[in-house]
């Protein structure tokens, strides 16, 4: 399933210019923005690492409070959405603007841009949905950004077993968890909304073609970045 492709890296602005970066402006702009987003998550994740180093006892053991299996499935869902995103990109690079098309000699139909982008949107929205449900459940059990709510189930557990559930009110655990995953979820939501917007305004009316699919490539970069951050977050928040 491999063949040579040309990328859009040569697209010039519609007036004479120096070579510059060699990639078209929208892509360059998105990469620069992603660099800034790395710094933003550095502040949040870096603070988490620093705070945890400073007071490791305030954190619960992995799996004690958070639902790791469910989040593992959710992680897989996000990774799937990343794959479907790159399939969407590959599809439009080949000019496949359609939804599904029968391919002679193959059982599965061939997916075009409309199909794969829709899969991405659905998986992305699914990720956010599962996160929201998780949040509601956690808060219900007593896990809040301020730590364990007084009198809640988790607070009792923490009193009984501070090693497993985190010492005291586990304020730092809650603070860092909700802030990091919350802002990641915000980024995912923004991505889903952007993809929906593009889907209805550009993808369905078939405005993208093999000659110009910049919007898909750029939103794809953003989406993969969001996935990348989650890969890091999942490990250091849920598994350590």
């Amino acid at each position: 399933m491999t063949h040579a492709t040309q990328t859009l890296d040569q697209m010039r602005p519609p007036f004479p210019a120096e070579v510059g970066s060699g990639v078209y402006s929208n892509k360059l702009g998105m990469w620069v923005f992603l660099a800034s987003d790395v710094m933003f998550f550095t502040a949040l994740i870096g603070s988490y690492i620093i705070l945890r180093f400073g007071m490791p006892s305030a954190w619960a053991r992995p799996g004690a409070v958070l639902n790791v299996p469910l989040t593992g499935v959710n992680t897989f869902l996000l990774i799937c959405s990343s794959v479907s995103m790159v399939k969407a990109y590959a599809a439009i690079a080949d000019g496949k603007k359609y939804f599904l098309r029968k391919v002679p000699g193959k059982t599965l139909q061939d997916g075009g841009l409309k199909f794969w982008l829709l899969v991405t949107i659905i998986c992305g929205a699914g990720f956010v949905g599962v996160q929201l449900v998780e949040y509601i459940k956690l808060v219900g059990e007593g896990f809040t950004p301020a730590g364990y709510r007084e009198g809640s189930l988790l607070a009792e557990h923490a009193l009984a077993d501070p090693v497993k559930y985190g010492a005291g009110v586990a304020g730092m655990y809650g603070s860092t968890f909700f802030t990091m995953t919350g802002f990641h979820g915000f980024h995912v939501t923004c991505g889903v909304i952007s993809m929906l917007y593009l889907y209805f305004t550009k993808v369905l009316p078939e405005k993208y073609s093999a000659q110009d699919y910049r919007g898909i490539e750029v939103i794809g970069l953003y989406w993969h970045f969001v996935d990348l951050v989650w890969i890091i977050l999942f490990t250091i928040v849920y598994l350590i």
Binding site: Q10, G20, F33, S36, F41, T42, A43, S47, T144, S175
Partner: protein
């Protein structure tokens, strides 16, 4: 020239005539956006100045009723006397407005927007609509910040550096709503800054006209480019920190609360990790523009153009490694303290290279002392003093008695006012013809410069002395300490000088506003300069050029023999010996 790449010829004249709103208010034209930033930032500069006047009243005449104090509410001013709670708000908001909403937008929001496309030969920024959003978000952030004065409990009061836990605990600081507004405003401003910087970086990399090689770009563009890289990487860290602060104040998180396991020092690290690149954001564009102006005023190429570029890059790179020098007194690890001391001392080197190069440029030049040149020379001398006081503070043992005294305040103001603001006076005067089609009045400009220079030094130089004498920062009434009482006459002197300094700015404000309508109509190239922007009429039209200009040489070809009888040779002028630059070829298969 074999391949002729298509030019965007009449794309702009084909627009339907735009309504007033689309043309001047919700404009995507980088020049209009730059001018919008200019007016808004000058307004915030005025706000910051008014706050400073009140601070100086209190410091010079503690306990005396302030003239005009009656118009302020009782919670701030009691019987005309500034209350301590209000004083600390003044100090905090003066810093906040000046740094975030005056100097940064004036240097970056105005001049990056206005100059970059003009000086690299582009028709507009890479992302004009994002550019428009960048302005409106900055304005929104400024208004949110201003609202802090008008909400219950008044403005934030933990200093412009907002150290936790004072800033995180409304029960300690007394500022409830406005502290949250501060955080929100900073996040919005950060967004505006990042959006702008993405634009500047992309435009400079990808939209340079044919022949505009990297080492043919004017230093103002180099400086703005490096500044944008700093901004894009530093502002998000502040946004993260501000969000954590907001959560500490509102939803009960404990990032900076040591009682619950947080770390108060974490705020300082995050803030200054942003804060130090931020101060280079506040000075590099000024340095860049001053380079252009000094070369112009000396009628000579900039001395050591390449080393100037590497110095800018060196300052920006080292700037990430010095943030701990703001925290020498925080009780940090002494080994780390030494590391920061070394890196801070190192960073003086590229700055010094630049100062020597400016002097080298002026040496034996055919000096023209026009208003921008005067202000630029003022910049060099004042920035040097500010830099020298910086060396004092870089040495940790020296910083121990000096930290949080007026000595630091003197340093800040020498680099920010003596540095950035003088550079802004120069830049505003220099590019005024390009923006508005008229010249600012030369006589008033010179009077403004000389009076400002004199009163400015009278205001801020003595601060070094009283700082060394032990007067702290942000102190409400120095006379409560016996050891500070002998210095009080200096405080009075400073206050009188400050009032005079503020009053003198009326000259600049008048000059600026009056010349909009009644200034002399500007010739196309009033300063006999070489930049691409001077190939356009004044003011520059929408879309800049009909046909993208070609660039044949570097930006500082003053007094070049090839120019014949003129002492300047613009980048866009084609001599018989020049060949047209070859633009990048159209992509294959398109």
């Amino acid at each position: 020239m074999t391949t002729v790449a298509h030019t965007r010829t009449e794309a702009h004249s084909e627009h339907a005539p735009m309504s007033f709103w689309r043309k001047y208010i919700f404009s995507t034209d980088h020049k209009i956006i730059g001018i919008q930033f200019l007016f808004v930032s000058l307004f915030f500069l005025l706000v910051g100045g008014l706050l400073a006047m009140q601070i100086r009243w209190q410091l010079g005449f503690p306990g005396k009723p302030m003239p005009g104090g009656g118009i302020l509410p009782e919670s701030m001013v009691s019987g005309g006397v500034i209350l301590p709670e209000y004083y600390i708000q003044l100090v905090t908001m003066h810093g906040t407005f000046m740094v975030f909403f005056a100097i940064m937008p004036l240097l970056v929001g105005v001049y990056a927007n206005f100059l970059i496309p003009l000086k690299v030969g582009a028709h507009d920024m890479a992302f004009p609509r994002i550019n428009m959003w960048s302005f409106w978000l900055a304005l929104l952030a400024g208004l949110i910040m201003l609202a802090g004065f008008f909400v219950p409990d008044g403005a934030p009061r933990a200093g412009w550096t907002m150290y936790a836990p004072l800033s995180a605990r409304p029960d300690l600081s007394g500022a409830t709503i406005s502290q949250k507004l501060w955080s929100i405003s900073i996040v919005v401003l950060g967004l505006s800054s990042v959006m702008g910087s993405v634009n500047y970086i992309t435009t400079i990399i990808n939209h340079r006209a044919p022949g505009m090689y990297w080492f043919r770009m004017p230093l103002s563009v180099w400086a703005l480019f490096i500044t944008a890289i700093l901004a894009v990487l530093a502002l998000p860290v502040l946004q993260g920190a501000a969000i954590m602060l907001l959560f500490d104040q509102s939803i009960g998180t404990h990032f900076f609360d040591p009682v619950a396991g947080g770390q108060a020092l974490l705020w300082q690290h995050l803030f200054w990790f942003f804060g130090h690149p931020e101060v280079y954001i506040l000075i590099l564009p000024a340095m860049g523009m001053v380079s252009d102006i000094i070369a112009n005023g000396s009628r000579k190429p900039i001395f050591g153009y390449h080393s100037m570029v590497f110095a800018i890059i060196g300052i920006a790179f080292l700037g990430w490694l010095v943030w701990g020098h703001h925290m020498f007194m925080s009780g940090m690890n002494p080994t780390l303290g030494s590391t920061f001391m070394v890196s801070t001392l190192l960073i003086a080197v590229p700055s010094a290279v630049k100062v020597f190069n400016w002097m080298g440029t002026m040496w034996r030049g055919n000096l023209r002392f026009h208003v921008p040149m005067l202000n630029a020379i003022g910049f060099v001398s004042m920035f040097t003093i500010g830099g020298l006081s910086g060396i004092f503070m870089a040495a940790t043992p020296v910083d121990i008695p000096l930290h949080d005294t007026q000595f630091i305040v003197a340093h800040i103001h020498y680099v920010l006012f003596g540095g950035s603001l003088f550079a802004l006076f120069a830049a505003i005067t220099y590019w005024y013809p390009k923006m508005f089609g008229r010249m600012m009045n030369e006589g008033i400009g010179k009077a403004h410069f000389f009076l400002t220079f004199i009163f400015y030094n009278m205001t801020f130089f003595p601060m070094h002395i009283i700082g060394m004498g032990g007067q702290m920062r942000r102190i409400y009434d120095p006379t409560i300490y016996d050891f500070l009482k002998p210095q009080q006459p200096l405080n009075v002197f400073i206050s009188y000088s400050a009032f005079a300094l503020f009053a003198v700015q009326i000259l600049f404000a008048f000059n600026f506003l009056w010349s909009l309508k009644f200034g002399k109509k500007a010739p196309q190239n009033p300063w006999d300069d070489n930049g691409l922007e001077w190939s356009l009429p004044n003011p520059a039209p929408h879309g800049n050029w009909d046909r993208t200009p070609n660039v044949y040489r570097g930006p500082y070809e003053f007094s070049a023999p090839e120019a014949g009888d003129k002492d300047y040779l613009p980048q866009y002028v084609k001599l018989p010996t020049d060949r047209d630059p070859v633009p990048a070829p159209a992509p294959a298969g398109h």
